[in-house]
Amino acid sequence: MYDILFFLTLIVVGYIFGTVIEKRHFKSLMMREEQMLYLPTIALKKPLDDEGIVRSELVNGSVVISIDFFKKFVAGLINFFGGNITVYESLIDRARREATLRMKESAKDASEIINIKIETSSISKNTKGIGAIEVLAYGTAIYR
């Protein structure tokens, strides 16, 4: 009986806190992305032109984001029936955007960042351990 109550409390707490944290994160992402719009990030291997390049340098940004209990529960349910696990899609989206932003913020004076690579890895794969994903974004900042 107490086990079920404990489980339900975890789901409710996870849902409330998780939703608040996610909303706040998306809001801050939108705001910061707007501020960094002046710095283009390109997946091409070469800069658009070599004119006036002073310096090039490797830059990176990374983030580790944890799942919450509600997401874990819903994902478990969907795993049973099949379909898109949308709760994880938003989580990964947040992590990728955050990592890219951190990379951009570490090279504020650059004129562009080229050859962007984004790498995702899960911190723990077993269901008992902690569930979190790490995203690393890296590229070459070009200074003109």
């Binding site: 975890l10 707490v13 996870g14 806190f17 998780g18 944290i21 996610e22 994160h25 291997k45 070469k46 800069p47 070599d50 390049i53 090039s56 340098e57 490797l58 990176n60 990374s62 983030v63 580790v64 984001i65 944890s66 799942i67 919450d68 209990f69 997401k71 874990k72 955050e98 080229i114 050859n115 690579k117 790498e119 890895s121 899960s122 911190i123 723990s124 794969k125 077993n126 351990g129 902690i130 569930g131 979190a132 790490e134 690393l136 890296y138 590229g139 070459t140 070009i142």
Partner: protein, 103 residues
């Protein structure tokens, strides 16, 4: 030491190739951080301790790669790639590699 992940250095000529250089670190998670992360797993959000831990390890892997390149007499590393793999439960390997050249 100039490090980039593109294949050349703009406006500079590559004079000599030294082949692949690499660096890696294997890090285990901290018990205290693990407990904190366990709590965070209920609420969600960023695991700052892990972000720091992984970026520190990545810096160390890069430092190892740079010292290897320096011992070869290179002054730049091109086409750098990062890769992460979990070796065992609770440990991660961070690997970084690139081509050492002299420009």
């Amino acid at each position: 030491m100039l490090i980039t992940n593109i294949e050349y250095v703009p406006k500079r000529e590559i004079k000599e190739h030294f082949g692949v250089v690499s660096g890696s670190t294997v890090r285990a998670k901290h018990v205290g951080r693990d407990i904190m992360a366990g709590f965070k797993n209920v609420f969600g959000g960023e695991l700052k301790g892990y972000t720091e831990l992984l970026s520190e390890s990545r810096e160390e892997a890069m430092a190892r790669m740079v010292s290897q390149a320096e011992s070869l007499g290179a002054n730049a590393i091109l086409n750098v790639r990062f890769s992460t793999s979990s070796v065992a439960a609770g440990a991660a390997e961070l690997y970084v590699y690139g081509t050492a050249v002299r420009i």
